[in-house]
């Protein structure tokens, strides 16, 4: 997409890229070892090994070449003096001037009042003196350097001395003035810039802006290319209201591991008051730390680490500048080791959370959780054996703690072919609890609890097909009825604390699930039959699904007694919500999807969701979605599940080759409040790019507190840039933005 051009130095399609024929082919042979060839319309031998050539003179050695109208060549000293439309070129640079001297022996050249072009980066400039040292280095005096064309010279560096190191592909300039639109805007005693597109250490695009949370806000990221498999980005961030923060990200990649560290540190928060509110962290350290790693010890053993820390609850609200992050309620800390065997899979994990949300209980820590899962299909008589075991020690400072051991063997008999399947399955779930600190919560008396529940199910389905022709194209339409019967007897589980168990969100998947709860602390009693019907339309030539519609519902044959709370009212509905899902690939670029849940007893819609997505061939992105969720019965003090009605529109649209706009409008319709507004424009020309982004979003539990911010970034192409901070923020807001 065009938007990405900002970060990858991509030129718009219409930009003229220097003709490769202007330069000599690359050569591995050192010029000094090649023979000298001279070609001209006319040659005269003058004296003592000196020849004079006139008319279309071409002196070449290796991949170096000099062209001129007239040249004198001394065979003894191997010196060329050239006049009139002189060009000296090799694989990297082409220098043009009126006169040149070239010592073939010393492999040095000198030119006065010259223009030059560099093959890579589309760079060019002028210099009062050019000294060439072989093909490896070019020294320029009183020089200019730019990647802009002469007609559209938006920016140019002017320097007393420029050293172009073609081997390292780095340019170094001293006493530099940056002119933009002809005006001097910046002076630096030294700057270095890359001469090719390889990753190199250097400053990335700085970002300048203002936000309610930080005041005037400037970030100047520096990219450090430590080695081919590791790099770092150091970002000093100055915030006028809060002070100087230093952020650093370090990434590594080895044959077995990949990961990153990300840290941020603000020595002392200078903000005394944030509007009406006193800043609770005034003159305190604010910091964050993240470590993520994925790795493997061998083919079968792997590890995963995800550790996140912030110094306080408000850190993300104050510094992230982004609704996705500021709306985070918990930060995970997880270390996990996995074994993947042919039959057995084993995992050991330690997990805790840092809570950023004030109104919730601290979650339990799992120290540790061990799981062992076995899967043995296609045994005698076609039987499949499964085993799920789990041991978890739950720890907490203020609640009942304990260990849970869960053991669930299952046996099933899958039968099926392309047109039909049937899977009877029986499992026995056995759980043992050993509770500690029961004095902390009077609701729990028993210290040792065991529970055994059988789980019986029968899953079955048919697949019908018929050919279909539509607009002269062949399709296959399917009709796929599916029935799932589930029986689980009731067990009183009120004396078991809820360590990790809550109600699952009701979705199509719930119809074919063995449990309506997320964890083993509750096993929901069931005597129910789920019926669903799916119809797909599949492109007969590609096998890709064009359209799918699924309808389903659960019929309950008995009331559900098991609930999350002790004296929760039994659920006596005789059937579940109807649920319908549709997904359609309207054209190659447009996709629509929708979902509706309807409660026939109350004659009301529980959930509806409609989304329309566009992905253009030119990188255009457009999403529009409407989502409604009725506030459910669970919305008591126990759970925070809330009703909502929201519309979310986001887009990243290239207007033409150079301009694109990005935006998001995310609004809550039930109380007429905008959750996030984002608007940005982006300009990308042949030698520079700029981006301006405005965003405003709700930032705090006190939702009157909004964060309004804008940022501007200017990139001068060819002065180095690889990725930058706003980009990842935009990805969070605009679905599909890359």
């Amino acid at each position: 997409p065009l938007a990405a051009a900002f970060d990858r130095n991509i030129l718009p399609a219409r930009c003229d890229v220097l003709d490769a024929d202007m330069f000599m082919p690359q050569s591995l042979i050192a010029p000094a070892e090649s023979e000298v060839n001279v070609d001209a319309d006319d040659a005269q031998f003058v004296e003592q090994g000196t020849s004079v050539f006139t008319g279309n003179v071409e002196v070449s050695r290796g991949n170096q070449q000099l062209n001129a109208n007239r040249a004198t060549y001394n065979h003894l000293y191997q010196e060329v003096t050239a006049q009139g439309d002189v060009t000296l070129r090799d694989s990297e640079i082409k220098v043009s001037a009126d006169q040149a001297e070239w010592s073939l022996q010393e492999d040095q050249g000198a030119m006065i009042d010259a223009d030059y072009l560099l093959r890579q980066q589309n760079a060019r400039g002028e210099a009062s003196h050019v000294f060439r040292q072989g093909v490896r280095r070019t020294l320029l005096k009183n020089a200019s350097y730019t990647t802009c064309t002469e007609e559209d010279e938006f920016w140019v560096l002017e320097a007393d001395n420029v050293d172009l190191d073609h081997d390292e592909a780095v340019g170094r300039a001293r006493d530099v003035v940056l002119r933009m639109g002809g005006l001097p805007v910046f002076y630096t005693p030294y700057i270095s810039f890359p001469l090719n597109d390889e990753r190199k250490s250097g400053f990335l695009v700085p970002s300048i802006g203002n936000s309610d949370e930080t005041g005037f806000d400037v970030s100047t990221p520096y990219y450090w290319n430590i080695a081919p498999n590791q790099d770092a980005t150091l970002t000093p961030r100055y915030m006028s209201d809060r002070g100087m923060m230093l952020n650093a990200e370090y990434r590594y990649l080895t044959s077995n591991n990949q990961g990153l560290f990300d840290v941020g540190y603000l020595g002392s928060d200078n903000l005394r008051r944030d509007g009406e509110v006193t800043n609770p962290y005034y003159q305190e350290d604010r910091k964050h730390f993240t470590w993520q790693q994925q790795g493997r010890f061998s083919d079968r053993w792997s590890n995963y680490i995800d550790y996140n820390y912030t110094s306080d609850r408000n850190y993300l609200e104050d510094f992230s500048g982004n609704l996705s992050l500021s709306s985070t309620t918990h930060l995970r800390r997880l270390a996990q080791v996995n074994y993947h065997g042919d039959i057995w899979r084993f995992a050991a994990r330690a997990q805790g959370y840092q809570t950023l949300f004030l109104d919730v209980e601290e979650p339990y820590q799992m120290l540790p959780q061990l799981t062992l899962r076995g899967f043995l299909p296609d045994q005698a008589l076609g039987l499949t054996y499964e085993l799920d075991t789990e041991f978890t020690a739950f720890d907490s400072d203020d609640r009942v703690t304990g260990q849970r051991f869960d053991f669930e063997p299952a046996i099933s008999l899958p039968w099926g072919n392309a047109g039909a399947f049937m899977t009877p399955r029986v499992a026995v779930k056995q759980s043992y609890y050993n509770l500690d600190n029961v004095d902390r919560q009077p609701a729990y008396q028993e210290e040792n609890i065991s529970r055994t529940v059988p789980i019986v199910s029968l899953d079955s389905g048919l697949v019908f097909e018929r050919p279909l022709t539509f607009a002269n194209k062949g399709y296959i339409q399917t009709l796929e009825p599916r029935a799932f019967y589930l029986y689980i007897p009731e067990r009183n589980q009120d004396d078991i604390p809820l360590f990790d168990t809550t109600m699952r969100t009701f979705t199509m998947g719930s119809l074919f699930s063995h449990d309506r709860f997320t964890g083993p602390d509750r096993v929901g009693d069931a005597n129910q039959l789920s019926l669903a019907l799916t119809s797909r339309i599949i492109d007969a030539t590609t096998g890709r699904q064009k359209f799918a519609l699924t309808l389903g519902q659960i019929q309950y044959f008995s009331d559900r007694d098991v609930g999350l709370q002790t004296n929760q009212r039994r659920d006596d509905r005789s059937d579940s919500d109807y649920i319908a899902e549709v997904i359609a690939e309207i054209t190659k670029n447009w996709t629509a999807s929708g979902q509706i849940q309807w409660n026939p007893d109350a004659d009301e819609t529980t959930l509806s969701s409609v989304q329309l997505r566009y992905r253009g061939d030119n990188g255009a992105i457009f999403n529009i979605g409407h989502r409604y969720r009725r506030e459910g019965e669970l919305d008591t003090a126990y759970s925070n599940i809330i009703g909502l009605e929201q519309v979310d529109i986001s887009a990243s649209l290239p207007i033409n080759d150079t301009w694109s706009v990005i935006g998001r409008y995310y609004r809550s319709l039930d109380d007429q409040r905008t959750l996030e507004t984002l608007a940005g424009v982006q300009y990308n020309s042949c030698c520079w790019a700029t981006r301006f982004v405005f965003r405003d979003y709700i930032n705090d539990i006190n939702s009157d507190d909004r964060n309004t911010a804008f940022f501007i970034e200017i990139q001068l192409k060819g002065l180095g840039s690889f990725g930058n901070s706003t980009d990842s923020l935009l990805q969070e807001s605009i679905i599909g933005y890359e």
């Binding site: 079968r300 609704l323 996705s324 500021s326 709306s327 309620t329 918990h330 996995n338 993947h340 065997g341 899979r345 959370y353 949300f357 109104d359 919730v360 979650p363 339990y364 299909p377 072919n417 392309a418 047109g419 048919l462 697949v463 019908f464 097909e465 018929r466 050919p467 339409q477 009709l479 809820l498 990790d500 809550t502 699952r504 969100t505 979705t507 998947g509 997320t518 964890g519 492109d539 007969a540 590609t542 096998g543 890709r544 699904q545 999807s593 989502r627 969720r629 126990y638 925070n640 599940i641 809330i642 929201q646 979310d648 809550s668 709700i698 930032n699 539990i701 939702s703 969070e732 679905i735």
Partner: protein
């Protein structure tokens, strides 16, 4: 009205023996895909050998996105999970059978900040559903190859 029970969906001979790279076939999507392919008479092998078709995953990305934010709390109300995979497929003679084939699956769930541990278990179930959905879609795509 023309509907008939689906007959055996013969997989093309060119992918009878298949080596999968780019994803782990012992876990997650790879394991699920391997089992479904085995059921459809495609032999998924652990070590590459001559004569095997080659399925190379160039993308296997699972994202969690904030889908909605509660207006009263300014905190997450629903999350969305997005699984996207892209693969290339070539037969034993290195003929390209499929280029940059992309499949996507999405699930969303209500987030209850009172029980963050429940989220992990719920995600696990939804992720398994998405693996199943994408694997089925890949099998449908493969059976259309001729």
């Amino acid at each position: 009205c023309g509907f008939q029970l689906r007959g055996a969906a013969a997989m093309p001979d060119s992918i009878e023996t298949l080596y999968i790279q780019g994803i782990n076939i012992r876990d997650g999507l790879g394991l699920r895909l391997k089992r479904i392919l085995n059921r459809n008479d495609v032999k998924v092998i652990d070590e590459y050998r001559d004569g095997a078709a080659l399925m190379t995953f160039t993308e296997n990305k699972l994202e969690r996105r904030v889908m909605s934010v509660g207006v009263q709390t300014a905190k997450v109300a629903e999350y969305e999970l997005i699984l996207s995979v892209v693969y290339n497929l070539s037969d034993a003679q290195q003929n390209r059978l499929a280029e940059q084939e992309r499949f996507e699956a999405r699930r969303d769930y209500q987030f209850n900040p009172q029980q963050v541990l429940g989220r992990d278990a719920e995600e696990e179930i939804l992720i398994e559903e998405m693996y199943e959905q994408v694997s089925q879609a890949i099998v449908r795509r493969l059976s259309a190859l001729k």
